[in-house]
Symmetry: C2
Subunit: 236 residues, 2 copies
């Protein structure tokens, strides 16, 4: 009863693209730094982290302080900083060492997995990075001072970075959605509706969070594929 | 380019079965107790928990002690006990309050999400319940005493309980695999290869862990469907 046989072979090959598995680095930083060819897909797990404004860096770490790059991320120009902050939730529950990612941004933002947010007692909404209007806040504690965020705590929406060349080859535009299939022992999943973030320079890389990465045991995955969301069958 | 139109309508309806979303109870206990009709599917999140032997109950809680039911689980005869234990990993990291589920069993077993296992420093394998040969151990600490488990720490393989009537209606046998699709905002997933555990009396219920439940935000899911794993298209 397979309907695949009724699909044109070329159409199937346009939909399904076999790619290389990017392993998460583990630990607190946010993205894989593996050196893979641009044409291969990297899937990176973003562990909980925060982005800060220049003013908040000074408030937390001291006047005149700036972020110190500790490790380059896979996307050019981005890095895990040496600095970490303590995150405190509304019921004085806390996470002691949350990595700061650089460079600094116009708005501070905290990105948590739901498991993290629940442990802090924060009802974090799923948002694209930067869309923080109306989201919950929290308290950031650094070695020099404290920042009380009124908003900015989100679960980052799963997404895939790519350049326009990759977008054209997949037949998608910036803002479209794609599916990601991860084959992994008996933990295989299809993560649906990844937001496509296409620009002139980004490398091909999916960002998922620790809940998603742990759900499918990404560290031991056998393969990953990006799929178009146009549904060629009833099972999607 | 939808291939669904080439599928016989009855075949589609045999594959796709719309069902009711079971919400997780939150908190430390293991499964939903919602009262839904047997013909509807319940998806329950099993938070970290353990099963104990009679001897281990006495060692942890005192001579002559037995488990005290606190809340009935959805599957008849099973319950979250009032008792909890502290779990200690190999590097003296710990989880303070892990729920005990009853009734007691011939072998003690600890079921963790990967997020829990990583926080304890335990490399937990994915196993079907009861298949604990060669798995890591841990230390259980109760108010009366301590149990050092040589093995038994697993991530429980995602599975679906059902009775033979449901199995026949899905066209599956005990030990087969099915897929579960969860539609949930921009967090939708297909969890693949759920183990079918069919017997004479079980209610229709999927068990997933907190990583899987958080990956798809099950608490806010719009629908769940059980799908046959026979792949009618290229996208699975």
């Amino acid at each position: 009863m397979s309907a695949a046989t009724t699909l044109d072979r070329a159409a199937v090959e346009r939909i399904v693209r076999e790619i290389v598995v990017g392993r998460s680095p583990g630990g607190a930083a946010a993205a894989s730094t593996e050196d893979v060819a641009d044409s291969n897909l990297v899937v990176s797990i973003s562990a909980r982290h925060c982005h800060l404004t220049d003013a908040h860096v000074e408030r937390l770490f001291g006047p005149g302080q700036t972020l110190t790059p500790m490790r380059e991320l896979y996307q050019q120009g981005f890095y895990a900083a040496e600095q970490t902050v303590m995150l405190v939730g509304p019921r004085r529950r806390m996470l002691p060492n949350v990595r700061v990612l650089g460079p600094t941004r116009p708005h501070s933002q905290v990105e948590l997995a739901f498991t993290d947010a629940i442990s802090l007692g924060i009802d974090a909404p799923v948002r694209a990075s930067g869309k923080i209007e109306g989201t919950p806040g929290c308290v950031l504690v650094g070695p020099h001072g404290v920042v009380e965020l009124d908003e900015g705590v989100i679960r980052a929406e799963r997404h895939v970075h790519m350049d326009f060349r990759h977008a054209e080859s997949y037949g998608v535009d910036n803002g479209d959605r794609m599916n990601l299939r991860i084959r992994s022992g008996t933990c295989s999943v299809v993560l649906e509706d990844l937001l496509v973030r296409a620009d002139a320079t980004s490398k091909l890389e999916v960002h998922i969070d620790t809940d998603e990465g742990n759900a499918c045991d990404l560290d031991h995955a056998e393969s990953v594929e990006l799929l178009l969301t146009e549904k060629p069958c009833s099972c999607h």
